[in-house]
Amino acid sequence: MPCPVRSRLSLTRCLLMLATLDVVTLSRLQFALTAIFHMLWPVLSTGLAIYLVVLEAIWLRTRNPLYYRQARFWAKLYVLNFGIGVASGLPMEFQFGTNWAPLSEFAGDFFGSVLGFEGAMAFMLEAGFLGIMLFGWQKVPPVIHFLSTVMVAFGANLSVFWILSANSWLQTPSGGTFSDGHFHVQNYFAAINNPFMVRSVIHMALATVETSMLVVAAISAWSLMRQKAPEFFLFSFKLALVILLAVAPLQILAGHESAVQVAEHQPTKLAAIEALWDDQAAGSSPAWTVLASPDEASGSNRWSLSVPGAFSWILETRPQLSQPLRGLNSWPADQRPHMVGLLFYAFRVMVAIGLAAAALMALSLLLWWRGGLSAASFAQWPWFSWAWILSAPAGYLAIESGWVVRCVGRQPWTVYGQLRTADAASVLPVGEVLTSLSVFAVLYTVLLVFALYFGSRIIAKGPNLTLEPPGLAAPVILPDRSGNV
């Protein structure tokens, strides 16, 4: 939302503008705001949990306290992040009842069940073992502790599965019939395993791991640039880099496969993210538009920068299109998404970040290979450190952009082809939704600022390099090779 918040005057104007909106738009804005904010937290809850499992496994195998300290340090950030994730998740669930009651009634049979499964299978597992993972080091045997960490990671990733299954069902509803204003489930497994499910789950799970590892790498790079605990952070950087090198190529592949699926199931979304206005015949070789200024009024791009003949290479890796593609102009205005510019650029931002991060990883691997990657390199080349530091916010931006493409691109449908967003929203007084939306906007801004503040304090303080692992009868004094704190 292009909301000018620089001065109090324009804030007032912005609120006045909001007050003129209809309740459907306000409910949508509220869902968008709460979803965008909420999405910031499960990223680490899911991806960093896997890193914690790896660290603890290494510690249990080697019994080297360095790895124990790694696990304890990253867990500090994990818990700060987790609490906000739990809290900001509540409005996501309850909004389906408060603001989207017709959707709940329309699809509750399936959609509600899936959210219930997520709670019982994923959420509870994660929350039930988190206490032991965080505070149970002295309370339970190491094996039980490790099992708890695994359960936290497993629960978080199951959560990705259920949420993405539910969202994919909104994109490609299947497994039942639609009649008298209801979705009647015929086959639950077909509904859960709807066409988008597998690739969406993979794409999202990889995204959380990739962005989490970018966060670890960024924090490590920042600390190494300042020569803080170099041995500690060089290890965490290298471990994150190894995981990234495995994940990033897979993610590029998963992203491509998702786009291919969008072309097949949601032609209007594909046309919008490519600002494709006119129909393209099978066998043609359309240009691929890199940058453009889409103009919905005229149904064309004001200007564009494109690569001739590249479109079918990107979509189908072949010189000509095998299938015809419908442009946006061939759909009635109430059958296709609007905000084409947003979709077009959100998609490009996501792809560009994914590719740029992969390039940075490749460069770092090359340095490592050539023996040039040491704790000193980060202080020596600030640009290198900064590239890694910036990759963390970029990772979050890529995830948010992906969700914008996914959900704004699904419009005007909430359940694709079956239930319009305008019909899915509760009829509520404008003032009611406006109030909750405004409170969320203010609250979430404040929370984000403080979360970043406290997060950076944990980072600035750095790891405790003298922390002794549990289960040692007498504390063993190990030489502190890192030398400084």
Partner: protein, 333 residues
């Protein structure tokens, strides 16, 4: 099939009641401790209170998420109607829970803990109070049309009887929070919470009596149910048990027992809950929409039951393990 059409909604009503009961007991003492933290005499004592919640608060809150999911899946109509009617208090509760959760995490990392202490306490009061308002509003009835859609006003939840329920629930949470702290603390802090428990037990009792005697005047359906001979045994046995438990609670507090005050409070919660269940069943949107009208399809409920039903004992098992692993007194480290 006819059997299932009666049986499955009933099973889900019971499961929902179980989730809600677990939530009210477990997050009840969480919220109660949160409210009590406002009165902690020192920072180190407050830290002990926070430590007593550290390993359990998010799992406890998850029962609410679970209850929401189950209500959504099993009774989609009720989910939409009730939440829409309770728009205001639901968002106030969410606001309270968010403030509480982040204050908990931020406090850990803050040098100046005072603003976060305040936010934690206020968030707890807000969450507890709005839950009471939700409960009070649902009990006094939600007006619906023939299709079960909400037809009342935005301000339906603003009335004296909801306020009484809200204040009583806050007292009840303070009571269960106090008895939990008797269990988890020692010395001066423990003695303090024996006093708060006694006070809260008295105020909760007062509120509960007020609700019991005014409810039949507020709602026609409740009045009918109360004088229905079929339900007479319940309305004789439940109050008698209640009186016995209250007497036992005060005795155990006077005897400075550690475990029993909490156990009696939990039993009192279960008893009140059973009473409420008897009052509303089979309505899921009191007064008129029953679980049979609001339920999702039978196949949907069977499917959910196969997944979630199996998980209930597993969830209980690892939650109990969590409590066992952290048994004993909480410390300030």
């Amino acid at each position: 099939m006819e059997f299932l059409e009666w049986f499955m909604p009933t099973v889900w009503f019971v499961i929902l009641a179980l989730f809600l009961l677990l939530y009210v007991i477990l997050d009840g003492f969480d919220l109660g401790v949160g409210i009590l933290s406002l009165t902690s005499p020192s920072e180190s004592q407050r830290t002990i209170l926070m430590t007593s919640l550290g390993n359990v608060w998010d799992a406890n809150e998850t029962w609410l998420v679970l209850m929401g999911g189950a209500l959504f899946g099993a009774f989609p109509l009720a989910y939409g109607t009730i939440l829409k009617a309770l728009y205001g208090p639901i968002y106030l509760m969410i606001l309270g829970l968010i403030l509480r959760a982040v204050a908990f995490e931020f406090r850990e990392n803050a040098t100046n803990k005072r603003p976060w202490n305040l936010m934690f306490g206020i968030g707890s009061v807000l969450a507890a109070g709005s839950q009471g308002i939700c409960l009070g509003t649902v009990l006094s009835g939600i007006p619906t049309d023939a299709a079960g859609h909400f037809t009342g006003s935005v301000w339906i939840w603003v009335n004296p009887s909801s306020l009484v329920v809200a204040l009583t629930l806050i007292q009840g949470y303070v009571l269960i929070g106090s008895t939990y702290l008797i269990l988890k603390t020692s010395g001066e802090l423990q003695r303090l919470h024996v006093r708060t428990a006694r006070l809260a037990a008295a105020t909760t009792l007062g509120g509960a009596l007020l609700i019991t005697f005014t409810a039949p005047f507020a709602s026609e359906t409740l009045r009918q149910r109360l004088f229905d001979p079929a339900f007479l045994p319940f309305f004789v046995v439940l109050p008698l048990l209640g009186v016995a438990l209250i007497v036992q609670l005060f005795r155990s507090l006077a005897m400075q027992q550690e475990v029993w005050p909490f156990a009696y409070t939990v039993l009192l919660f279960i008893l009140s809950f059973a009473g409420l269940g008897v009052m509303v069943f089979p309505a899921v949107i009191p007064p008129s929409v029953t679980i049979f009208q609001a339920s999702s399809s039978v196949s949907s409920m069977v499917f959910m039951l196969t997944f979630i039903g199996v998980l209930i004992p597993i969830m209980l098992f690892y939650n109990i393990y969590n409590y066992i692993a952290f048994r004993g007194k909480a410390s300030a480290e």
